[in-house]
């Protein structure tokens, strides 16, 4: 008989994630190449040093997100956490629609990073602009091949890559501020470059931190629940420091006019700071961000697709595994869709639209997360390793604030603070409508087909047991109930 000691000590895993790795994962998921463009979007609304102010306020707001997701993660410490707390707070169908829309941000970020890195490489190699798309296809092809082969970045490699990107960006920015063009003698002059002109600056600043909460998907391998909580609070601090010095350096050395039409502001800063060396420095960091985006993004999204297909919420072919135990159809579809989105961005030059769409979706997710906390405070009374102080009023405040930020970014023109644009909202509404229609009309059919298939294809395998002494019939559950 199995050991049934009641006072069993807590089990520690042979390989578990500590605070440094979890923090690197969180910061690495947030800090992608698109963040360099995110700073440009902030500068459109908050010129000069006021951009650093916007990033600071954005960071303060994100600390509220850290607290909300820490409590939710403590309640459901699993990779499926978002499905669980959304499902239990707002219902399973709505949860599925929201999760599908949320996952599209992963595709957008992968596509955006592929485009931005391709454009940066082409620029440095001084090739014709059409070759940027060749680089995009090459990058996505390499990522696809590595994923299909089952190649994964080891945790320590990912940690080193993340800290290298963050430290490298910060160091070059500090060099740019203090050692180029004389010294940074009158930093307050940067306040004279324009007027802080709106809530959009703060919303775009929130985008710089976006996706840091995905670290909760590693909750099952964390040494202890507090590891994820610590990462959720430390990672925004690191991103705040790096993004602030980058924004200040950019304001100091590069005119907004030059940034306005550029897909690689970090390269312009590198060249302005240290010439060719600086440009190559920033190119190397940009390419390194791809390792995190492609490794983390492909992994999170493809495993989500696999689980959704196994749950019969997507066609079964998305759960097909290759000989390396990789869901090859999910990975291939992600690559093709990312390449298609990158092609549209390449053809239209609307890369800043991705910033607006990503920022607005993240704000919506944070608003929904706040609502979930509010609802689950009433419905679920179980112990939480982390409990937010003033949870209900702060969650209500978060729901309102992030809804406001959603509206601000969904109708913002990321290039021009004096204009509104319906393009981001149109894209989000389209994505949301497709996801909702799919969940309400296609998923029920898939579920019915799966149930019929399971009932028809094979009998239950578990032997039926005799009735017990207590008169209880012991036997298998009816699989069709699932």
């Amino acid at each position: 008989m199995g050991d049934s000691s009641d006072a069993a000590p807590p089990i520690t895993l042979r390989r578990s994630v500590g605070t440094a790795t979890a923090t690197a994962t969180s910061a690495g998921l947030a800090f992608a190449a698109i963040d360099y463009l995110g700073v440009v979007s902030i500068l459109a609304y908050a010129p000069g040093a006021t951009a650093a102010f916007a990033i600071f306020v954005g960071g303060l707001i994100v600390i509220l997100v850290s607290a909300i997701f820490s409590e939710l993660n403590g309640l459901y410490p699993t990779a499926a956490g978002i499905r669980l707390y959304l499902g239990r707070a707002i219902g399973n169908r709505t949860a599925l629609s929201v999760t599908f829309t949320y996952m599209t941000t992963v595709v957008l970020v992968i596509a955006a990073d592929a485009f931005l890195i391709g454009a940066a490489v082409r620029h440095v190699l001084n090739e014709p602009s059409v070759l940027a798309y060749v680089w995009i296809v090459v990058l996505l092809g390499v990522a696809l091949a590595a994923n299909l082969k089952g190649v994964r970045l080891a945790g320590w490699v990912q940690t080193i890559v993340t800290y290298t990107v963050l430290a490298g960006t910060a160091i070059l920015s500090v060099i740019a501020m203090f050692h180029v063009g004389g010294s940074f003698k009158q930093p307050l002059d940067l306040f004279g470059q324009g007027t802080f002109s709106g809530i959009q600056a703060i919303a775009f600043a929130v985008f710089l931190y976006a996706a840091f909460e995905w670290v909760t998907t590693t909750a099952e391998e964390a040494r202890a629940p507090r590891v994820i909580t610590r990462a959720l609070f430390i990672a925004p601090l690191i991103i705040w420091l790096v993004a602030s010095v980058f924004a200040l350096a950019l304001s100091h050395l590069v005119t907004y006019h030059a940034l306005h039409g550029s897909a690689y502001p970090q390269l312009l800063l590198g060249r302005a700071a240290l010439g060719t060396v600086g440009e190559l420095w920033m190119l190397a960091l940009t390419v390194l961000t791809a390792l995190n985006t492609f490794n983390g993004g492909f992994l999170v999204a493809s495993r989500f697709i696999y689980a959704a297909a196994r749950e019969n919420n997507l066609p079964r072919l998305f759960a097909r595994l290759n000989i390396n135990a990789v869901p090859w159809m999910a990975v291939t579809t992600l690559t093709v869709v990312s390449a298609a989105v990158a092609a549209v961005v390449f053809a239209t030059g609307q890369w800043l639209l991705l910033v607006s769409v990503g920022a607005a979706i993240e704000c919506a997710i944070y608003a929904i997360g706040s609502v979930c906390l509010l609802v689950l405070r009433s419905r679920v009374q179980s112990h939480r390793p982390f409990r937010m102080l003033l949870g209900r009023p702060l969650a209500a405040f978060g729901a309102l604030l992030f809804s406001l930020l959603f509206v601000a970014t969904a109708f913002a023109d990321p290039k021009n603070s004096k204009r509104f644009s319906v393009a981001p909202f149109t894209v989000i509404a389209l994505l949301g409508a497709v996801a909702t229609a799919y969940v309400y009309f296609v998923v029920p059919r898939l579920q019915r087909a799966a149930a019929a298939r399971a009932a028809a294809s094979r009998p239950r395998r578990r032997p039926v047991r005799e009735a017990t002494d207590a008169g209880e019939t012991v036997g298998p559950e009816d699989p069709t109930i699932d």
Binding site: M1, G2, D3, S4, S5, D6, A8, I11, T12, L13, R14, R15, Y76, T78, A79, A80, R83, L84, G150, R152, T217, T218, E220, E221, L299, R303, Y306, A307, R310, E311, A319, L321, I323, N324, A325, R453, A454, S457, R458, R460, R461, R462, P463, R465, V474, P476, E477, P479, D482
Partner: protein, 119 residues
């Protein structure tokens, strides 16, 4: 609530099905892990040692330091090892709780999926 004998029968069948599936063995050829299982209702515990995709031992109690810890009811374990339920559905509802890397969680589900694609 399933007793230990039922669990043992289910585990024996699961071991045979896994080790006898050539495609699964090839797919899991680089997967060597120690798994711990905890029955949340009976408090029974057992361990499974997987070497390069082959289940080399299943023992009562917790043996060695695990890579993965799976916790659920004894009934769910029995149904899962007999291939009568879809582990992902239970996992996404929070009825199966796993500690381990995302990759290992997926590999664990892949075993059921490859052996019983219609589960």
């Amino acid at each position: 609530m399933a007793d230990w004998q039922e669990l043992t029968e289910a585990l024996d069948d699961y071991t045979l099905s896994c080790n006898g599936n050539a495609r699964l063995r090839q797919m899991q050829r680089d997967w060597s892990r120690i798994l711990h299982f905890v029955c949340s209702d009976t408090h029974d515990t057992f361990s499974m040692d997987v070497e390069k995709g082959e289940i080399v031992s299943v023992q009562p109690g917790h043996v060695g330091r695990p890579d993965i810890v799976v916790t659920t009811t004894s009934e769910t374990f029995c149904d899962m090892f007999w291939g009568d339920l879809n582990p992902v559905q239970k996992y996404l509802r929070g009825e199966i709780v796993v500690k381990g890397s995302q990759e290992d969680v997926m590999r664990l589900d892949a075993i059921s999926y490859v052996i019983w694609p219609d589960s």
